[in-house]
């Protein structure tokens, strides 16, 4: 019998082996996971949303504020068996179609136990009614929430940006940063770029709860911290002026005609006013535009389709997000490149023929000036002033020859390197989202465009770039940055919109650092020479008509017209200007661009002129109508 007892003992021993192994797995190998689950079990969090930071202009005038909205939220789980009746009652009370309410409640981004916001800005009587008849509205609550307010209306809409809901796919990434599915997040403009400063920190109350969900004790309370405020470099007065002048001029330009006699479309445009000495943006306007208040109230169908689907693309900030062919506004920059490389000299004279052919080119490619007249030889300054293309075409050939000689070294791309040095071909790094890069055409790029460049890089690549034509593209902001460098003595300043980020207690969280640390390789005399040439554009050059009667003795202005061909569309009208009381260090750079606006002198130059007049409190006394000038 004792041998059989050993069998029993063996069976018992096997039981202990099984239990010990399993315990080892649970308590030693897998314990981390279970410890987390135990914590999740017993701790509940109640969050309090922080107040979002505000935005002010450079003098503390409010641009973005907060306002209280009564928001209706529905918890689907809590509606219980009455769900259908509750939805009908609520739709009636809120005066929205049942179908629409049902659609909002079917939002897949939310779990069934999470309250879904279904209406904002409801009247206080709605809140009172729901509170009084809560038994008719199980799962429905009306809570005060904070939403954005825009005391200046549509002003600076593109810069300020707007808030939007969190997408389902984003939430996994954001929840670790303390976001709730029902939160909003910066979706464009400064709201997007400065999200982490503006948002603030959620308040949280931690409770230990038991298995019935009853609170056993509070673990601690952390009050919400309001977000930081943004103090912008924008000057509300100049911003308004820029927007007003751009809108007025677009309307006026539409009464004009292009060179084929068709009415100008002048459908869109942008204006930038930048402090040339610091890179601070004082105004940035882009049309067409939109009203940020639409997004606070909830977009109607027509607003949504206008904003996101129409050809007008009003949500685009054309001042920074799109590259345009810059036309002759490029010449002061390429002139500096030609001076630096020795192709042009300050004392030299260059022929301004009606046409130009690359030396040795037998293909029959002919580059035309904007006029069929032979204008004789002229200085570089004069070539800028009257915007002679053929003078610059010649420098393009010089750059091409240099490229051919030095193909294998960096020196082979002198023109492209010089343009990149000025900030073209790459985002400026402005603190706004989705900035465009523009394009500096070079042999590598040409290889990717076999239909345009079947034989690779050809002289025309450098020649056309020299006059800012055809392939080269720049955003208005890149042009503003480059002109600022000419104005301030050769320092490339990173454009910026926010000067300071300030905490609710007044402490400065972030201060715009020195943005002008990059110095360009141009001598003061070269830069002064080009500024002088730009001055003569106003007094005796292509913008003479546009600036007739302007008190240049009070405020010095230099500028350059640009008329960029953009087939099959009408020409892009450009004017790049600098202005200030000191001609040797003009304070402001003003860039105006009108899509399908005709000649630079026609649509863009009057905008720049009027903005400068507004900045310096000068009377607006010019009515435009200068449909003359360069191509």
């Amino acid at each position: 019998m004792s041998s059989r007892i050993k069998v029993l003992a063996l069976l018992v021993a096997l039981m202990f082996v099984a239990l010990s192994t399993r315990l080892w797995f649970l308590q030693v190998l897998a314990t981390t996971q279970f410890q987390q689950e135990a914590r999740d079990n017993s701790v509940r969090f109640v969050y309090t949303e922080p107040l979002r930071g505000l935005m002010y202009d450079d003098r503390g005038r409010p641009l973005v504020e907060n306002q209280e909205s009564l928001e209706v939220r529905v918890n689907r789980d809590a509606m219980g068996s009455q769900a259908e009746a509750v939805v009908y009652r609520l739709a009636h009370l809120l005066n929205v179609p049942v179908r629409e309410l049902v659609a909002r409640l079917q939002d897949k981004r939310y779990y069934s136990f999470q309250p879904i916001p279904v209406a904002e800005f409801v009247q206080p009587h709605v809140r009172d009614y729901i509170a009084e008849y809560q038994e008719l509205f199980p799962g429905v609550e009306v809570v005060p929430t904070s939403v954005r307010a825009y005391p200046q209306g549509r002003t600076a809409a593109h810069i300020l940006g707007y808030l939007g809901p969190i997408f389902a796919g984003e939430y996994d990434r954001l929840k670790d940063k303390g976001y709730q599915q029902s939160d909003v997040i910066g979706r464009s403009g400064l709201e997007q770029v400065y999200e982490r400063f503006l948002r603030g920190t959620q308040g949280v109350q931690k409770f230990i709860v038991n298995s019935d969900g009853e609170t056993i004790r509070a673990l601690g309370v952390k009050d919400p911290t309001a977000g930081n405020d943004l103090h912008l470099t924008l000057d509300l007065r100049i911003q308004r002026a820029a927007e007003r002048e751009l809108a007025d001029e677009l309307a006026r330009a539409r009464s004009g005609h292009d060179i084929n006699g068709l009415p100008l479309k002048a459908n869109a445009g942008a204006v930038i006013v930048m402090d040339a000495q610091t890179g601070a943006i004082k105004a940035m306007a882009s049309l067409p535009s939109y009203d940020p208040r639409w997004l606070v109230q909830g977009l109607t169908k027509s607003q949504a389709s206008y904003l996101y689907k129409s050809d007008a693309a009003p949500s685009l900030n054309r001042a920074i997000q799109l590259g345009y062919v810059p036309g002759s506004t490029f010449k002061p920059i390429t002139a500096l490149a030609a001076l630096k490389e020795g192709f042009a000299t300050l004392g030299g004279y260059y022929p301004c023929d009606a046409t130009y052919t690359h030396p040795g080119d037998t293909s029959g490619t002919v580059f035309h000036n904007w006029t069929t007249a032979n204008l004789g030889t002229m200085s570089l300054a004069k070539a800028i002033s009257i915007s002679c293309d053929t003078v610059f075409d010649r420098f393009g050939s010089d750059f091409y020859f240099r490229y051919v000689q030095n193909q294998l070294s960096d020196n082979g791309l002198l023109l492209q390197n010089d343009l990149r040095g000025f900030g073209f071909g790459a985002p400026t790094g402005v603190d706004l989202p989705s900035e465009g890069s523009g394009l500096v055409p070079d042999p590598a790029w040409a290889k990717t465009q076999p239909t345009l460049f079947p034989d690779g890089w050809v002289p025309g690549g450098d020649i056309l770039t020299m006059i800012g034509s055809t392939y080269v593209m720049a955003t208005p902001l890149q042009l503003a940055q480059a002109y600022s460098a000419i104005a301030n003595g050769g320092h490339l300043c990173r454009p910026h919109v926010v000067d300071q980020v300030v905490a609710p207690d007044g402490g400065v969280v972030k201060q715009a650092e020195d943005h002008c640390s990059r110095t360009l390789p141009y001598t003061p005399s070269e830069l002064a020479y080009v500024r002088g040439a730009l001055g003569s554009v106003i007094t005796s050059g292509t913008a003479q008509c546009s600036f007739s009667g302007f008190p240049t003795s009070q405020v010095w202005v230099g500028g350059k017209t640009g008329t960029a061909e953009r087939p099959p569309h009408q020409d892009t009208s450009w004017f790049a200007a600098m202005a200030g009381e000191n001609p040797n260090a003009p304070k402001y750079v003003v860039i105006a661009m009108v899509e399908q606006g005709g000649f630079g002198a026609e649509a863009a130059a009057p905008i720049a002129r009027h903005v400068i007049e507004d900045i310096y409190h000068l009377p607006n006394n010019h009515q435009g109508g200068c449909a003359v000038g360069d191509r």
């Binding site: 019998m1 004792s2 059989r4 007892i5 069998v7 029993l8 003992a9 069976l11 018992v12 039981m15 202990f16 099984a18 239990l19 010990s20 399993r22 315990l23 080892w24 649970l26 308590q27 030693v28 897998a30 314990t31 996971q33 279970f34 410890q35 689950e37 135990a38 914590r39 079990n41 017993s42 230990i208 709860v209 038991n210 298995s211 019935d212 056993i216």
Partner: protein
Amino acid sequence: MDMVAGRVWADERRPIRHVDWFLLLLAGALVVVGLFLLYSATASTLRGESLDPFVRVKKQAITAILGLVIVLVITTFDYRFFKVYAGFIYLATLAALVLVKVPGIGATDTTGTAQRWFAVAGFQITPSEVAKLSVIVMLAAVLSELRSPEPTLSDLIKVLAVAAVPLVLVFLQPDIGTSIALAAIVVGMLVVAGTRLKHLLMLTAAGLILIFLTFQLGVIKDFQRERLTAFLDRTNAPQDARYNLDQSLIAVGSGGLTGVGYLKGTQTNLDYVPEQHTDFIFTVAGEEFGFLGAMFVLLLYALILWRAIRIATLSKDPFGTLVAAGIASMFAIQMFVNVGMVIGIMPITGIPLPFLSYGGSSILVSFTAIGMLESIHMRRFS
């Protein structure tokens, strides 16, 4: 006759001199550990209801003292009396198992799903708990009287018939946990009684077919089936069936190597583990004392089982051996099924952990079993 020598001989053979103190000590240690675990499992809830946080600990302690008295009483009896009265005990148990189902006599539990006990003077007397010992005694009596050293097939059928009646009655209560314990006791005793391997295999096959049929024929109710199978597929089990197991695993798993500390377990103190003071008492040890604490408890059981099996080998007659083996089987299967259920390797059945789970009948039956073991141990020479 040498009176002096006779007295010496008599003294040497006096059973009290051969008490297995270590076994008693182990049982006592488990009860004390159980009281600490019970306090942790119940104090915060009782305090929340403005009740004496010690009320359950006190009741359990009193039951344990009563259990020691029972040990004392039973050790004074020669265990062979049980063999004499085995038939009577067996029939009385069957009567109790029938009576408990009679409306008005047996008490129904709060959920109303099972009717398992008599309410007597504030105590719950659960006949199915007693049935385990009755079956042990009855089977030992039958098996020890067999003529051949190995039970023949007809012996086997006789034994199984004896065991089957109470097993079916318990199963119909329904009390699946005790049914499993009874089945394991039968198997354990048959093994020790020398049943041939061939017969054991046949028995196993028959058992599996029976289990299959109970599932197929709907004898097992849906709520039981869900609980029984939840451990096999934790993620797809219905929420309610999964909840017990999930919370139990979280409690044990979160204990880690050394535990979160006595009275510091959140699973335990915040009431996340259902039935924690009864069937899930082991989770307290797991959460608050960790792997080392859980292994210590298992070690105490291992030592008790070692003593029980040792007593089975030391017994002077086959009846004692079979009773001790049956008791060892009973403790082993309850320990294994209960702890296995808590840590997710056995189905969830209502089966108490001997000496640790809160509940009068379980404690008293466990001490009765200890008393019987002691009685066998003490009289191994006489």
